[in-house]
Subunit: 352 residues, 2 copies
């Protein structure tokens, strides 16, 4: 059983645009639901596509349409789960606010505890690498979000800079196929390698400066990337642009943080235009999703010099938004551009 | 005291892009906070702009910078609150998920109760106007979201189609300067006019078919628009495009719902490209923010005809995302285009 013939058949019959990820979303929904309306809801795809996909699967003997619901046949379920590695999507929507937020405390408590224990031993942030990192709760929330969107389990995941330790959360709880981290800081590389060995995670770590190109073997090789770039347009292209170039193609997804503390809405507009032109659609923009741990080097920053009152912050004040993009076409991204690291800062920046 | 000289001075000294809304966000933050880092956090603007705005305000005698914080002078506070109508922003972030979601139950309980009582008497949805409407909790959440972003209190608000009754929530709890609703359905027009008279709200309602242009007096006249268009690109231009044309200019904001039940990510991409090209930035894209009340006319819809199993949904399955955009430049939008209502449907649609 293969995906492509289903995609083609559904496209032919509906005349609507779709890709393999579209059909995959319907298949995952079928793994967890039997009611047609619940399947549409879980798949997040248009009704005519969901209905036609079910019809094609029915014709090919993958499922039974019965008066009380739609049921995958046991053989199809086994293929999907064992051969294709698809599982129903987990649900971490916040129960208090009707799912408008994400609640990482719905993750397995054992995983949360192990993550908290590991991250407590992490190397401290240093100013050399613009390393202000997010709170462990924010890392868990970012992981939970990506997991829920179907971008972690069974996926090849690339992390460009991992001072937030999202690879640890992914390996502990996300059942990825493989995680690759590129990271400039020797201390973090060693920290992650230690835990990867200790825990036998499918995690490899490469020491790499992202002003330089990624290894050629990384191009078009990943399903998902995550990154948290410095806030200049050049840095955005170096981190997110390389992330885009590392994605397999249509249906692949990317995540990044973008703050308003160092990036005006004018810069946001430039970033969004770049993504749209690259053939990516913005599926999520969640304001102030991440809170940052106040960094030890605060008094060395431009923000400190600019502050009219010289008192250290006593609670999180630096937040960033979470963006998720999904590719609709083949992209170029940034393949071999070398960036001058000095362009990773600009006049809106203030924390280095 | 005027806004423009402050904007110009800050722009001159920082060399950074900003507009009156930028300075307004800093001023609102100053109304509620004294710690510099909290002010930056609440303002959601870049550190150099916030610092320079404070310096300019200090020079002009609006505030005092003291060792323990930054304090607006009483005279400045009075001007801001009485003459400019600015108040500190309310906070409805969900306490359970660290503010990643919005919790409308943090709205004043009396307001919620009155809203629930009024909406219980609303005219039912009819298929003629593609009226599936969102749950009252979703309306409250949308209102709370816009209120929290500073787009309701003291604003001139335009609502293009109000089967969701968001005008009722706004008038009950949002202290707007003025609310104007355009609505095609005579029953809703009368319902809203009845309550506007009864409660002496600053609300006017116009019966209007949005395939037709808005009255000329609506152009460039509003601070905020809210709408929930049918899902074709033509309908998007008719509703959101007219909303854009009705906005005053840079710093004005718009809200709309967009579902994935009737709009693929390919259509999302077209919508986003249109907005970016119009000079709008996407500040928020929150997936599945709104849940819809299952409509009585479900068996008359295309979705029903497409459904492989003919059973009525027994819980919400139709959701839509919330978009917020903010203008960075003057826009054109849709001024005098007349649309054929038949183009409000397309091949991805299924609920009419």
């Amino acid at each position: 059983m293969r995906m492509e013939p289903i995609v083609e058949r559904v496209a032919e019959r509906t005349g609507l645009p779709l890709n393999a990820r579209t059909v995959e979303r319907v298949l995952r929904a079928l793994l967890g639901h039997h009611d047609f309306w619940e399947i549409v809801d879980a798949a997040d795809e248009v009704v005519p596509i969901v209905a036609e996909t079910i019809r094609v699967l029915d014709e090919q003997g993958w499922l039974r349409v019965e008066p009380h619901g739609i049921f995958l046949r046991e053989s199809a379920r086994e293929t999907l789960e064992r051969e294709w590695g698809l599982r129903p999507l987990p649900d971490f929507r916040c129960l208090a606010c009707e799912g408008r937020g994400i609640d990482p405390l719905r993750l397995p408590s054992e995983g949360i505890e192990t993550f908290m224990a590991i991250q407590a031993e992490r190397p401290r942030a240093i100013i050399d690498y613009d390393q202000g990192y997010i709170t462990p709760e924010s890392t868990l929330a970012r992981f939970a979000f990506a997991f829920m969107r179907g971008d972690i389990q069974g996926r090849r995941v690339l992390i460009l800079g991992d001072d937030d330790l999202v690879s640890v959360a992914i390996c502990l709880m996300g059942a990825p196929q493989e995680v690759v981290v590129v990271e400039i800081d020797r201390r973090l590389v060693e920290f992650l390698e230690y835990w990867a060995n200790q825990m036998r995670w499918p995690l490899t770590v490469h020491q790499l400066d992202l002003s330089q190109p990624l290894p050629v073997s990384f191009l078009r090789a990943f399903d998902t990337f995550l990154t948290d770039p410095p806030e200049s347009i050049a840095a955005f292209r170096a981190f997110v642009g390389r992330g885009l170039a590392a994605l397999r193609g249509p249906g692949s997804a990317g995540y990044f943080g973008l703050t308003r503390r160092e990036a005006s809405l004018f810069k946001w507009h430039q970033v969004q235009r770049y993504l749209i032109e690259q053939g990516a659609v913005l599926t999520d923009v969640v304001q102030n999703f991440h809170a940052y741990v106040n960094w030890d080097y605060a008094p060395k920053t431009r923000a400190w010099r600019l502050a009219p009152v010289k008192s250290l912050p006593d609670k999180p004040w630096y937040r960033s938004s979470l963006y998720r993009i999904e590719l609709l076409t083949e992209v170029v991204g940034e393949v071999d551009t070398v960036f001058d690291v000095h362009t990773f800062n600009d006049a809106e920046a203030s924390t280095t």
